[in-house]
């Protein structure tokens, strides 16, 4: 060991101490930077992983799904526990017996109305038998509905298992009735019509869904 190495000047000692401090600071800084980078990258990776999980789950498992019987329909009128006796040839007073202004189930004729688009009013007792088979009956007040309204209704409902007909004197411009359920509408663009179809068209709520809606009575004024 040389004397000069052994006995450093104060200046040298201070310089070394400073250099040491600077090195330590640089190391700390580098470590901090690295940690920050790791945090950022792993955060991004974690985020991507969560996103991937969510995306695959959504893509493979489902569009959001709601069971038909759980669809909520504003202003829905329900008629539970209806009888379903064939009463030919006596007429049924649907208003008096069940409080229905347009029939939505109950006793009815043995002869069901064939589903289709009619431009004349139909017999209640026949139409109700079609409701028993799962049909939806869409009616309009002929004094309120335009031709364009009728076309719009036709386009909005399925071709099968539906009856479309005028119903003079009904309490709303447009109505949709199924076995035990009914809505009233002021316009044909009412979203509740689709909800009603999704919930009640060929519904297990009807006593005999899927039983025929053809091959019986073809009412007057069949258009399609």
């Amino acid at each position: 060991m040389s004397e000069s190495a052994d006995r450093k000047t104060t200046k040298q000692q201070r310089a070394e101490a400073r250099a040491e401090k600077v090195r330590a600071h640089q190391q700390q800084e580098a470590a901090r930077k690295r940690n920050r980078r790791i945090a950022t990258v792993s955060g991004a990776v974690g985020g991507a992983a969560v996103l991937a999980l969510v995306v695959t789950f959504v893509v493979t498992s489902a569009e959001p799904q709601q069971r038909p019987q759980d669809i909520e329909i504003a202003g829905l009128k329900e008629f539970p526990n209806l009888p379903a006796t064939h009463i030919d040839p006596s007429p049924v007073d649907y208003q008096k017996s069940y409080g229905m202004e347009v029939p939505a189930g109950g006793d009815h004729s043995q002869i069901w109305l064939n589903c289709g688009v009619y431009n004349q009013p139909q017999q209640n007792e026949n139409a109700v038998h079609a409701l028993e088979h799962g049909a939806v009956w869409v009616t309009y007040d002929p004094q309120a509905a335009t031709e364009a309204d009728v076309e719009a209704l036709r386009a909005a409902i399925p071709d099968q298992y539906t009856i479309l007909s005028p119903y003079p004197g009904q309490p709303a411009p447009f109505m949709a009735s199924a076995w035990g359920a009914q809505i009233q509408m002021d316009t044909v663009s009412d979203d509740r019509l689709t909800q009603f179809i999704d919930r009640y068209w060929k519904s297990p709520n009807a006593p005999e869904p899927g039983a025929s809606c053809s091959g019986a009575l073809q009412g007057p004024g069949l258009v399609a």
Partner: protein, 218 residues
Amino acid sequence: MSHSQRSTGLTAFVVTVLAVVLVAGSLIIGRTSAGADPQPTTRSAEAGFARDMQVHHDQAVEMSMIVRDLTESPDIRLLAYDIATSQSQQAGQMFGWLATWGLPQASPEPPMTWMHRPIPQGDSHAAHNLPAAVGEVPAVMPGMATRAQLDELRTLSGIAAERMFLELMIAHHEGGVDMADAVLERSDYPVVTDLAGSITKAQQSEIQLMEELLAART
């Protein structure tokens, strides 16, 4: 300096590998946790088939019941009886699927849309001649008779009614086979492929029978 560059490179490499592994793992977990055999959704080929084939079958039942009232021929009456009862039963199966899957019987989109979505890739039937775009959905289901044709059938009787019934029903069955083939190309859902498979077999053999019955009436 060069040492710290190397360690940065290494960190980046490790992080990239980790990222790939993690994302791929998540994709796999997401897929498997969604269920190996997920229930068909409302716009699936399975649900579309269940809805449209009910409509198709309902018309076959209607035509069969019409012709039974128009003819005394035991061959035709038995054929019509067979078609009406078996297709009613099958339509009921499809009705039940939708109820079990918690789906509306009503379709959220025009009939036949499912048939015109691209066939899933990697399928050996991918060359099948179907339009790929959903925009090309035809207005009429394959093989469906028009209301005018059914009205005409009702005015006939005897051999004339039998001939028209056979012609309409052969076309109807051919359309039904096309629909069943379309779902077989798009689905692995067992209860659906089982029924679709038996529909193609049964209807193809009935087409043969009906062609013989028709030839005997020329």
